[in-house]
């Protein structure tokens, strides 16, 4: 096949996989009724598979698809990076034509060290840095910033157009048939939108220093696949026809073509993109199978030294030690409400910060946390009931969690599993503090036997008469902490009824 044809296939592959990513992303909030798994890309992500299984000390069958990706890399090298990874595609599409920076080759080591650090931390039961996974970055940025921002603009425009009465019939059609299926009528707000977006933009911006900066130098998954790609059967080769024009050196998006060394490249860096083969005027570049005389590709100057790898182990140990002296180890954070069924301790080791549960939550009450659970829990999901409640009849997060950090319990079980406990602030609650009629929380409570009861009280009115008001009370035995009451509490600002996180099973902190 001609290089040009293969190049076109690769561009199609970019578009197809990114489109698949977006389709899965959009349909993820259909309360899980779609036949497609929203965590498709994670299932093929070997980095996530490795860290989740190491940290969780368990075999996660759903993540074993990632062996396909590893097998692919042993056959063809970093094709994941060049052909599949949707974040890689985004980075390629947003590459400036000219990269100004002069980045030292030595920086390539960082991605290997990042990979080792993640693995060592996972061995120690910690996944705090798993948010650096590229699929995770794209999912999180799309979920919390790009998509909601886009929706805001579209719906804002629609709102403007709705001012013109003549347009209503058309707008109605567009709304119900186009916008509703795409955005699901969900109004998202995200506490972490700005930092997450900034992170995304910075990674994008690094492209100005070198094309696909992230993939070349930083990506821990790229580091992982780089190591396995050294074994690749099919590798790039330059034959004797080469006229040393140097075109391939500038064309290479990862800058791995070495002009000083007969225009050879490192399989750990090459993404099999075929840009070089396409640009070569004398057809000197091929990707033959190195069989039957197969041996691993030779090492490079930027390969991590044994000393450096040991250092990452020490670094991971230090990081885990720091995580161990954060306050969360002594006191349960007040407002760190986890998705249903998740326990505080097991959850943080199993959760890989992938953001899928945040994406699928139809009320968008699940938010990537910032520092509510300490630095070690950054970007883990937490329910913020004031922004969105845990919908009684929904188990989308349970069904989507790829690692089982949110245990896979049935909907019926979820409906009786407490995730927190509501309490009433009688200094703010309208009937308690101001003798005003209100019982929204009781009305909203979704439980068959309402966890909020109303106490009838007669209070004097201003005109000297008496009136009956109802004061809500929470039944501790029944409340599951779904937060519907907090969400709908009509008191402005902070709700007069709030859900606090539950302590782990016993309700007591061990050792105190």
């Amino acid at each position: 096949m001609k290089a040009k044809t293969i190049l076109h296939f690769r561009q199609l592959s970019h578009i197809a996989f990114f489109a698949l990513f977006m389709i899965l992303f959009v349909q993820a909030v259909y309360l899980g009724e779609s036949p497609l798994p929203s965590d498709f890309f994670y299932r093929f992500d070997p980095l996530i598979a490795a860290t989740a299984m190491l940290a969780g000390r368990t075999l996660i069958a759903g993540l074993l698809y990632s062996l396909v990706t590893i097998a692919l890399s042993i056959l063809f090298g970093r094709v994941w990076c060049g052909w599949i990874c949707p974040f890689g595609s985004v980075l390629e599409w947003f590459s400036p034509k000219i990269s100004r920076g002069n980045v030292p080759n030595k920086l390539r080591t960082v991605k290997f060290l990042a990979f080792f650090t993640l693995i060592f931390a996972a061995l120690l039961g910690n996944q705090s840095a798993a948010f650096l996974d590229p699929i995770s970055i794209l999912t999180r940025s799309m979920t919390t910033a790009i998509w909601p921002g886009l929706r805001l603009l579209v719906i804002g425009l629609e709102g403007f157009l709705y001012r013109f009465d003549a347009l209503w019939p058309v707008l109605d059609l567009i709304n119900q048939d186009v916008l509703l299926p795409i955005f699901q009528g969900i109004e998202s707000v995200f506490i972490a939108a700005l930092p997450i977006f900034l992170f995304f933009i910075i990674v994008l911006g690094l492209n100005h220093l070198a094309e696909r900066f992230w993939c070349r130098y930083l990506c821990p998954l790229g580091g992982f696949l780089g190591l396995t790609s050294r074994l690749a059967v099919f590798r790039r080769e330059v034959n004797a026809d080469c006229i040393a024009c140097g075109k391939c050196v500038t064309a290479c998006p990862t800058g791995t073509v070495n002009a000083d060394k007969n225009f050879e490249s490192d399989p750990a860096e090459c993404t099999m993109c075929f840009d070089c083969a396409d640009i070569c005027t004398v057809n000197a570049i091929h990707f033959p199978a190195h069989l039957p005389k197969w041996e691993p590709a030779e090492g490079q100057a930027y390969d991590p030294l044994r000393r450096q790898v040991l250092l990452t182990a020490v670094g991971a140990l230090g990081g885990v030690a720091l995580a161990g002296i954060e306050p969360i180890q002594r006191r349960q954070p007040d407002r760190l409400i986890r998705p249903p069924g998740a326990t505080l301790t097991d959850f943080t080791t199993m959760c890989m910060r992938c953001g899928e549960c945040v994406r699928v939550c139809p009320t968008q009450g699940l938010q990537p946390s910032l520092l509510e659970g300490g630095w070690q829990n950054i970007f883990t999901p937490r329910l913020v009931p004031r922004l969105g409640y845990c919908s009684y009849n929904c188990d989308a997060c349970i069904r989507t969690c790829p690692t089982g950090a949110i245990p896979s319990i049935s909907r019926e079980e979820k409906q009786i599993t407490p995730i927190g406990l509501a309490s009433i602030n009688t200094d703010r609650c309208l009937p308690w503090a101001y003798d005003t009629l209100c019982s929204v929380c009781e009305e909203m409570c979704p439980l068959p036997d309402k966890a909020i009861t109303l106490e009838e009280v007669d209070v004097p009115t201003n005109d000297g008469g008496m009136m009956t008001i109802f004061r809500p009370k929470v039944n501790r035995e029944l409340c599951i902490g779904c937060g519907l009451c907090e969400y709908h509490c009509p008191v402005g600002g902070e709700a007069a009824i709030q859900v606090q996180s539950l302590p782990d099973a016993t309700g007591f902190i061990p050792g105190i």
């Binding site: 058309v170 109605d172 186009v178 699901q184 009528g185 009684y392 009305e443 979704p446 009509p490």
Partner: protein
Amino acid sequence: MSDEKKLNRRDFLRKAGITGVGLYMAGCAKKTEGVLPTPFSSVSSPTAQPTNLPEAETPAYGDVYLAVARGEDIEEMVRRTLVAIGGIERFVPIGADVIIKPNICTDYYTYEYGATTNPIVVGTLVNLALGAGASRVRVMDNPFGGTGVSAYRRSGIEEAVNAAGGEMEVMNKNKFRSAEIPDGLDIKEWVFYQDILNADVVIDVPIAKHHGTTGLTLGCKNLMGTILNRGQIHANIHQRIADLVSRVKPALTVVDAMRTLMRGGPTGGNLNDVRLANTVISSADIVAADAYAATLFGLQGSDIGFIQAAADMGLGTLDLASFKVEEIPV
């Protein structure tokens, strides 16, 4: 990539324009089954000023003011009650834009739990309205638990309405507008769903059920689903509901009392709390319908604050002895 492949600004604008027009046309292309107007034909309304006002005069249709059917054939019960009070044609003129407002409060439970309106009642009304010549029949509510999409599906109403040829509309925040309530005693202005105020005919189809705050929720209370900022209604809930009634003024109220939720309302969830009352009540008078439905719970209209408040405002009568009731065993 070479330069000629790059999109320049002009190309981009041209392509964006074509895409936009394509999307627009795609939006227009849907729905060819006659009942719907194209986006360009104005929704036909026979009267110059569409209002939801019921007939001002007490009807002469055999003098039946309120009809009650008891039985199990829900479709037949709805039909017979409507025939008794003058037929659907009395309420739905030819070409009318009709909105049916059932109670689809959450997506938590199916209709058997008595928290959402019976889908057969809604489906039958869609059928009848289309049969009477309505140009368009839409069904909508604004659930407080779950999304519109999920609650419509879960309640079974979506399926029934689609089968009957009606449309489910997920309420769009952009279509809520502030509107005056000229006759309101407590609130003079509130944010309403514009389509409900503009519709030629609004049919209020509550389910009769228990409600922690107001005792019961019925036709008047069901109109809470036409507004935003519902939490603030609670500060003076009975009068404010009556004020809403004075603005929305449904032409027809059909109370679904097939499976009445006797406690744990409005959300329900316990089948032991559901009583098989097997009753459907229809009247042009929302207050009368509510007052009659209250008797199914061993109460009187005057026991429920919002029924009394609406009656006090002259929006209907709660005195069951003052009008003719037709009882229809089915």
